[in-house]
Amino acid sequence: MSMGQGLRLRGSLQFRLIVGSAVGVVLAVLLAGLFIGNLYRIHTTERFQSELDHHLSELIAMTRVDAAGMPRIPQPLSDPQFNARHSGLYWQVDGGEGRIARSVSLGADRLAVHSDDSAWETGRAGDQMLLQRSARVTLDGHEVVATIASAQELLEEQISHFWSDLAWSMSAVGLLLLAGAIALVRFGLAPVRRLGEEVDRLRHGEVARLDPDVPTEFAPLVERLNALLAAQAQLISRARTQSGNLAHNLRTPLALIMDEAEQLRLAGHVETADFLLGRSALMQRQIDYHLTRAAAGGTRGAGTLTEVAPLLDQIITAMKRLHAGRDIAFEVDLPPGLRLPCDRGDLAEILSNLIDNACKWCRHRVIITGAPGGIEVRDDGKGIAAANLQAVLIPGTRLDPETPGTGLGLAATADLLKFSGGELTLGAASEGGLSARVSFAEER
């Protein structure tokens, strides 16, 4: 995993929730395991001791002391383990002065008794650690100490088995809980993911506003965002209208001034007329150039993707009408679903300029090819000499003043592309004419 991916992951809400849940589940399972294990240990030890108590009571009840003070057990105790050598379960009755009776299981060993007041204590028989309890009783007029012992490993083994089973069970429970937590996090965050996808669709221009059908917690956010979008759209629309009105308000008086200049020329005031017409033409070019730039800056939406094919269809239909008197074949080759990272209005302006330019200069063919991140418009006309390729990108440059036009097309296109993070590259087309290649750095 790269550092960038790591940082993105740490910033992810889903990652944080899953890690938080995992830590919680592990802690809960550990605590629950410890609690259950301890509880089991206490209960098992109590049961173990209770069984030994039962054996001690049975031993005392069965013990007889003969006249010589020798303790005797006429019948074997109920648990057969007393009769199996080193089985782990032992008894001993000490009549004092070496008079000792003991279980078969004890063999030659003796149980060392430190306390005879019924307290639980540890002892040893051979290499076995013992848990033992003794009781001082008087039987048949003699005082004896009866002791019951059991190997501690029997108890520990039982507890250890339980711990092992408990660990597996708790791990399984932990994993199930973790899976449940992950599922819950994903389910809980699904609306956030959907909202993210919706915002992406908005950025790509597929929808104009966010779907208001979201969980209640997000509703105010979506509502405010939609209100913001509506306000922004209104602002853009107003800016467009205002720039349109400005254009209209400037052009109409300019038209009257130019007409007046023409009238002056007809009346013989050629010098004055030419002066006025020259300045008016300059004003017209400035209006066109700056309004195009203003419109581009005002309508551009960050991250907007525009699908090329439908837009190109509209432009080509318009161009066929505009150049209806000429026999022009349009050849289009676009990858399916090609989208370019540019505002629709700006892309329409860029493609229309390039295609109209190609139509004006072509002999019969205009070729439009697309590739991810770019589009190329070529024609089979005479092309532009390499030395003039940069000059046509300067506003107002017209290589052939006889052909109608403002000389703004390619310059305005290059300018618009700069706004949209793209680039216009002019060169020679393989068909003989101009190749105008539009490229964008990357799809946003």
């Binding site: 109409t252 009257l256 007409d259 195009t292 505009l322 109209d356």
Partner: protein, 217 residues
């Protein structure tokens, strides 16, 4: 050539009308789209429609006219230089556009180009038998010899040449030569036809009784 100008700015409309008249065109002016809808099919050669009309926009007017199957060429006049509006106008059914402020020469050239296209001629020079005319320079020739025609005679010859082989009614000729606002005299048509016949040969313009005149192809 008979032009219908739909423009809401009276000062501009009057100047355009006067300038077109100076270039041998008759120009009728309407200031709104609603009137243009009723009047557009009245035998105009080209319609010039301003996009920014009050009420119904120029683009909606073009769309409505094409929906009525009107085939007359339409030139849209726009104050905006953006292609989005031009593409919209062209796709609505306009044939060309021109961005304000309009130079008269450019407007006249565009109007001639649209008229030629509508009548099926691609070049500015149109030849009908031994007669040839150049719509751009307003010159005419008979058997390659220049013809000395007055402006009215050239306009009549151009009108007949555009529609060579087809009969033009006296009313159509009258409408194309004189605007509705001017004094119109149908007898003037006959006088004009007579003068033109004397210059290009009587037999070349055929009188179709009760209808009008036809230039023999």
């Amino acid at each position: 050539m008979r032009i219908l100008l739909v423009e809401d700015e009276p000062a501009l409309a009057q100047r355009v009308t006067a300038n077109l008249a100076r270039h041998g065109m008759t120009c009728e002016w309407l200031s709104n789209a609603e009137d243009a809808l009723d009047f557009a099919s009245d035998g105009f050669t080209v319609l010039v429609v301003d996009v920014g009309l009050p009420g119904m926009s120029g683009i909606d007017l073009v769309r409505a006219l094409r929906a009525r199957s009107l085939a007359t060429p339409i030139l849209i006049l726009t104050a905006r230089s953006s292609w989005e509006e031009k593409v919209e106008g062209l796709n609505a059914g306009a044939d060309d556009f021109i961005v304000k402020p309009v130079r008269t020469e450019e407007l006249v050239a565009r109007l001639h180009a649209l008229a030629r296209r509508a009548f099926g001629h691609s070049a500015t020079r149109i030849a009908v038998g031994a007669i040839a005319i150049d719509t751009a320079s307003s010159e005419a020739w008979l058997d390659d010899a220049p013809l000395a025609l007055t402006a009215s005679e050239f306009r009549l010859l151009q009108m007949l040449a555009y529609r060579a082989g087809r009969t033009l009614t006296r009313q159509t000729i009258l409408d194309n030569l004189y605007s509705l606002a001017s004094e119109r005299d149908e007898n003037a048509i006959e006088v004009l036809v007579g003068r033109l016949r004397r210059k290009i040969g009587r037999e070349r313009i055929v009188t179709v009784r009760g209808l009008g005149y036809r230039l023999e192809a």
